[in-house]
Symmetry: C2
Subunit: 331 residues, 2 copies
């Protein structure tokens, strides 16, 4: 396989000149450029990812920032992102923010210092949007509105919320509860929409609907178990719960251990469709986020930004999928 | 806060000299060294992690290599490792190997090229041990025997296997199956012991015991479901299963959907104790690996190796914990 040295020798120029042509940065005489391009073609030279990063003063590293990679949804997002980044020649750095602003700031500093080439931002706490917008380096958001300049990938949460609502209606619910994520920071997330839509539709159908906020997506088993226990103790009359996988699993565990029958007495709809949540009995009715595609789109956008290619679509919206299970009434 | 420039100015030397004292590398006159150390004390100077890395020609990055970070056990290990590495001033790179040797080789190359300061190796396929031993750069293994030179952190799998066996005996099992991980590569893992011990104890108690090998710890839901369905169809007579969390969850789902009563007809013992597996009903009897401590010990060893400090204990063995649930008979 031809190296950059081979190209330089063939074109009778220095390696530095070839590198300037490859990077498109720095002055090269038009005649020399043509000679080098001819040599690149003649030798069928493809710069490898690491060599290319050296020329471009890149680290070859993209940071994926999540609240906590131990959480099932984020672990599966990171998994898919690592795969897609690897295929594009990037290494993956992971950063847990634990919903703390100082961690977020630290990672933005890494981006400013060019220690990473870009950040895929999937965490939830938020500094002021301007801190992101003004960096002028590659950032792609998952499920976050970080201003017009920063591309965002998300699912169509409005349809997701509607599908969950329709499952509750079809199953005959009269008194439901939904759990939403922590409300922190000033930045909105597209996923807020699913809760607004769900509540709206419930109200329109005369179904009582309470909305609870979870503290945060930690991986603290007892937090979820206590939340579920408190819910069922405080609300003996509820007949439907809509929440992400982990909360639904905890509610199911608590309900079944109290002898509550599912779906006869309690209907459950889970949002996310993560791995282990699909391995429980009864099988949970789910609104599945296409996590591989979300990661793939985010990485594609990141790759365009890093290579300074035009980004046509700043808001990529994918469809969530209803996977009917046995925790609602089958149609 | 004092910077290295302040120290240099205070000691009336160049920044390079201070850097040589901090790194302990390169010649510095004893008199100068003492002057610099006095200035460091006088100014209460602490080099920050990034500055220190620059002096030491380090990347400040540790790679954590796993089969797939989407798998619950590895996501929780990576989560804990990232936390511990962050506390020590390191960034975390993650690398999925998907059990492929060429990926493994790529990451070892990164270590050789000093693009990362060290590798915490938690994957399973294996090149020849010599490829690890002869690198001469920081490597710490999780649950892998990579030769005498490379420290290894694991749980006491022998006791883990014994605890599982005792649960089966106490619960009156006569015909059990255990699932072990994929058998690939030439390198042994300490976790093999739990399966050997489990089988031995079953045999000694006259309990029939079959050992199946899983293909690999992927996050393919239908692989686990099919494995569970095939198990129960081919072995209507089994009354106990020992496997890691994910397989146990799939077996439980398959068994309950066939109307098999747990624990009356089928006893289950899960190994790992990951997050979501603790959120199912009936609560699973588990042998829990102390994943935070495993990661903490691995990072501590890594930190010693990177800072060229002596490592006293090359085999760190922690205890797994029996968490009794309702899938075996309660004592």
């Amino acid at each position: 396989m031809a190296t950059i040295q081979d190209v330089a020798k063939h074109a009778k120029v220095g390696v530095g000149t070839v590198s300037r042509v490859l990077s498109g940065k720095g002055y090269v005489k038009e005649e020399t450029r043509q000679k080098i391009e001819a040599s690149i073609e003649a030798l069928n030279y493809t710069p490898n990812a690491m060599a290319r990063n050296l020329f471009f003063h890149r680290s070859g590293i993209v940071a994926v920032i999540v609240p906590e990679v131990g959480h099932p949804f984020f672990s599966q997002f990171v998994n898919a992102a690592e795969k897609a980044l690897c295929e594009q020649g990037f290494q993956t750095m992971i950063c847990n923010t634990y919903y703390k602003k100082n961690y977020e700031r630290r990672y933005l500093d890494m981006l400013k210092q060019q220690r990473v080439d870009g950040i895929i931002f999937a965490a939830h706490t938020a500094l002021d949007i301007s801190q992101y917008e003004n960096i002028g380096r590659p950032i792609v958001a998952l499920d976050r509105n970080l201003g017009e300049k920063i591309p965002c990938v998300s699912v169509d949460h409005e349809t997701g919320g509607r599908m969950a609502a329709e499952e509750m209606i079809y199953s005959g619910c009269r008194n439901v509860v939904q759990f939403r994520g922590p409300k922190k920071g000033e930045v909105s997330t597209p996923s807020d929409r699913r809760h607004d839509v769900f509540e709206d539709i419930m109200r329109k159908h005369g179904i009582a609907c309470q909305t609870y906020s979870l503290k945060w997506h930690s991986t603290d088993v007892s937090y979820y178990q206590n939340t579920a226990d408190e819910l069922l103790e405080a609300n003996p009359g509820i007949d439907g719960v809509f929440a992400t996988d982990t909360t639904i699993m905890a509610v199911m565990q608590s309900a079944l251990s109290r002898g509550i029958r599912i779906p006869e007495q309690l209907k459950l709809v889970a949002y996310d469709g993560t791995f282990e949540a699909r391995l429980v009995f009864p099988r949970i009715t789910m609104i599945k986020q296409p996590v591989e595609q979300l990661a793939g789109e985010a990485v594609q956008l990141m790759s365009h930004l890093i290579h300074e290619e035009p980004v046509r679509n700043h808001k990529v919206i994918l469809q969530a999928e209803l996977c009917p299970g046995d925790t609602t009434v089958r149609r």
